[in-house]
């Protein structure tokens, strides 16, 4: 699946998007955040306050308990500040 990052999440991780292949036990957005945060200090910095991170699966907002099974594109970003 593709992971895509925006705003300061993107900056802290240092990339806009990437292909990821989480192990089977990573089943929810919350699990995925923990799995990514354990990669290195940049990911850890991006996800240090997991509760403020917003996520979308295939272009629709989801909560952290959403299942990621079958997702093609998962986005992580800070709270939105448009308008």
């Amino acid at each position: 699946m593709k992971a895509i990052y925006f705003a300061w999440v993107r900056e802290r991780i240092g990339k806009r998007e990437e292909e990821i292949a989480p192990p089977r036990e990573v089943s929810t957005i919350s699990d995925l955040i923990a799995w990514l945060a354990a990669r290195d200090e940049n990911y850890a910095h991006a996800f240090e306050k997991a509760s403020v991170i917003r996520a979308a699966i295939d272009h629709a907002h989801v909560k952290h308990d959403a299942k990621i099974d079958g997702a093609r594109e998962i986005a992580f970003f800070p709270p939105m500040t448009g308008g």
């Binding site: 895509i4 925006f6 705003a7 272009h59 629709a60 939105m80 500040t81 448009g82 308008g83």
Partner: protein, 161 residues
Amino acid sequence: MDKVGAFGPEIRVQAEDFDPAVEAARLTKGRSDVGALVTFVGLCRDEGGALAALEIEHYGAMAERELGRVADEAAFRWPLLGLVAIHRYGLIEAGGAIVFVAAAAVHRSAAFAAADFLMDYLKTRAPFWKRAHLSDGTTGDWVEPRAEDDEAAARWRKSGP
């Protein structure tokens, strides 16, 4: 996009500027059933001279879809005759327009409420992020979300029309 009611809300996500007068006029052109047209333009303010521009990052694949969902929700809640939402991205200099919302209805209460709702909801749901470019030439921080925006969006959950 799924149509709710007799019309499809018009949603545009673009880098280019827009003319609010032209956009508003298109909602009433050639028809005489509209009794109320409410428009809103959100502008980039200079924060007392400190801010030169806003850089707006967006999630292109999701932005139009999410704005469409919010517009469909407005069209479901109120009896509207037309609805337009335009959101820009990229670098927008102080004084420039960022967002446009227009709602047409038979009576003003529906048009006012729909435009208000659309702005409240798009602020908290549409995938756009602002970053300040300061007048001294430096790049400032990402704009922090305001608690008032969340509260403004939440009030629509308590009181339906």
